[in-house]
Symmetry: C2
Subunit: 307 residues, 2 copies
C-alpha cells in the first residue's frame, strides 16, 4: 500500500475551542480551500446542542453552503439521537460519534458514565446504519486521560470491539491531550488488530500538546495504519496553554508522508495556503510548522526575484 488517507478536522475540532466565533462565511471559505487542496474527508461541524459550543452553533446554516463536490465526504460530529436527526435533516450522510476510554473524562465531557454513553451510541449508530449513513466512532483518551493518567489498553480494545459490533465503520483512536508515546501507539494498534478490527477500519487522531503528534503518526504508520486525522495549521486543542500546540497539523503530516513516498491525493502547497488563510482569519500564527516554512520559502523566492 503506497498511500495514506487524510481526514480533516479543522472546521470542527480545530475551531471548537477558539474563543472568538468565526463567521460562517469564513468557515465556508476555509472549507473551499480544503476541497481545492484535494481533501476528500472533512469534518465540518458538530451537532451538539448549539448553546454548548457557540462556535459551532451555525451547523445547520453552514452545511447547505458547503461546496458541492460529489467526491467529498462531509462529516458531522453527533453526540446523540437529537444531533443525528439534525445532521440528517441538512443532508449529511457521514457522521462521527464519540466517547472516552476513561470514566472521568467521559463524565466531565458528556456528563454520562461510559456505560450510559455506550448505550446511547449503540442506538445512534444503529439508527445511522439503518439509513446507510457512514459512521466513525472516536475513542477519546485512548492513550491517556488528563484526569486519570494511564488508560488500560484493555479498556480501549473492549470499547473498540463494542463500537465495531454496534456498526461503526471506522474506529478512531483519539490521543485527546497528546499523552501518547510511539511505543504505546504501536502497542494499542496491534492489540486492536488482534481483537479482530482490521487496519483498514482504524484511524488515529493525534494531538501535539507535548510535540509528539508526528512521531506518533510515524509509529502508527510503521505498524500499518494508513488513516490519519489532521487539522490545518495544527489549530485546535487545549484552551489553557496560550500558544500551545493542538491537533496534529495537516501540512506537517502530509509533508512527512509525502517525504516517505506515500500519496495522499492532496496538494501540499494548497493545504499550506489554507493554513495561511486560517492564520489570517484567527489573527495569529498557528502552531503548524510546514505552512510557516512555506511562507518563508515564498518570502525568500520573492527576495531572490526582486534582488
Amino acid at each position: 500500500m503506497s498511500s495514506v488517507t487524510h481526514y480533516e478536522v479543522s472546521p470542527r475540532d480545530g475551531l471548537q475551542n477558539e474563543p472568538e466565533v468565526v463567521p460562517t462565511d469564513a468557515k465556508v471559505q476555509l472549507i473551499e480551500r480544503l476541497v481545492a487542496a484535494g481533501m476528500k474527508d472533512i469534518e465540518v461541524t458538530s451537532f451538539v446542542r448549539p448553546t454548548w459550543i457557540p462556535q459551532l452553533s451555525d451547523a445547520t446554516e453552514l452545511v447547505p453552503r458547503l461546496p458541492k463536490s460529489p467526491d467529498v465526504r462531509y462529516w458531522g460530529l453527533v453526540p446523540n439521537r437529537v444531533g443525528l436527526d439534525r445532521a440528517l435533516s441538512v443532508g449529511l450522510r457521514h457522521i462521527a460519534t464519540f466517547m472516552s476510554a476513561s470514566e472521568t473524562h467521559n463524565k466531565k465531557n458528556v456528563n454520562r458514565t461510559r456505560r450510559e454513553s455506550l448505550a446511547g451510541l449503540r442506538e445512534v449508530i444503529g439508527l445511522a446504519k439503518d439509513t446507510n449513513v457512514t459512521v466513525r466512532a472516536y475513542i477519546s483518551t485512548a492513550f491517556g486521560c488528563p484526569y486519570e493518567g494511564d488508560v488500560d489498553p484493555a479498556q480501549v480494545i473492549d470499547l473498540a470491539v463494542a463500537l465495531r459490533d454496534a456498526g461503526a465503520d471506522t474506529i478512531v483512536l483519539g490521543d485527546t491531550t497528546g499523552m501518547g508515546t510511539p511505543l504505546q501507539v504501536k502497542d494499542v494498534i496491534e492489540r486492536v488488530v488482534k481483537a479482530g478490527i482490521p487496519l483498514t477500519s482504524l484511524a488515529i487522531h493525534l494531538h501535539d500538546t507535548r510535540g509528539t503528534a508526528l512521531v506518533n503518526a510515524y509509529a502508527a504508520y510503521e505498524v500499518g495504519l494508513r488513516t490519519f486525522d489532521g487539522s490545518i495549521g495544527g489549530v485546535g486543542g487545549c484552551p489553557y496553554a496560550p500558544g500551545a500546540a493542538g491537533n496534529a497539523a495537516t501540512e506537517d503530516l502530509l509533508y512527512l508522508f509525502h517525504s516517505l513516498g506515500l500519496e495522499s491525493g492532496i496538494d501540499l502547497e494548497r493545504a499550506a495556503d489554507a493554513g495561511h488563510f486560517l492564520s489570517e482569519t484567527l489573527g495569529r500564527p498557528l502552531a503548524g510548522r510546514y505552512h510557516r516554512y512555506s511562507a518563508g520559502s515564498r518570502e525568500r523566492a520573492r527576495a531572490r526575484t526582486s534582488a
Copy 2:
C-alpha cells in the same frame, strides 16, 4: 542501552541568528539554568571572527563567567586555527568544527571549497588532538542542501570517514535546514556505520523547519543512535521565516525519550524552565511544544488551587 546523551546548542546555534544581541549576563543565566537541569554537554559560543556574528562576539568574555562544574563539558564552535587558539586561550577543552556535505552551501557559508575546508579542518583537528582537546565535527547539509537539493549519501559518508581519520571524536550529521526524512536518516546512519564509524562516535543535529525533527530523531533512535543535539525552546534556525521552527527543541526531545523509558540525566521540568527564561529574554514565544505545555499545566494547577 537504556539512556540517551543530550548535547545542548541553544547558547550558540540557538542564539546565532537572533537579530537582537542578548547580553552576556543573560547568556550566563541561561547556561546556569541548563547546568541546573543536569545538562553535561553545552555548546556555549562560537569563535568565528567577532564581526561576522555580533551575537557571539562576547565569546572570550562569556567563557570565564560560566558556572564552574567539573562534570560539565563546555564546547566552543571553531572555524579555523585562529578560532582554535582563541578557544584554547580561555581554557576550553572541547571544540566543534564544521563544514558542509554540499559544495554550494559550504561556499556560501565559509567562502571556501569543500576541499579547502577539509584541509583546514585536518589542521585544526590535528592541533586540537595534539593538546588532548575533544573534537566533534559537524557535517552540515547531510540530509539536503537548500541550494542543491538532494545530497548524495556517498559524499556524506566520505566526509565522515575523512573527518574521523583526521581525528574527530564525534561525527555530527547535521540537517541544517530540516530537509531530512525518517527513511533517509536511517539510511545515512546505517551507511556511516557500515563505513566503520561506530554509533557511539555519531550524533545527529536536527532542525524542525518542516516539523520533522522529532520524527527524524525517533528514526535515528530506531537504528541505534543515542546522541542528540537540541536547543531549548527550539530556538535557532532560519531568519527568513518569521516564527518558523528552528533547532529540534530540547524539551520535546527529552519528553519523547523519557516517554520511551530512556534516561537522559536531565530534569525535564527544569529544562522547560530554561525555555521559559529564554522565551522571556527574547520577548516572544518559542517554537518548542513541551515548555508551552508545561506552562499551561502550571496555569491549570494554579487555577485548581485558587478555585
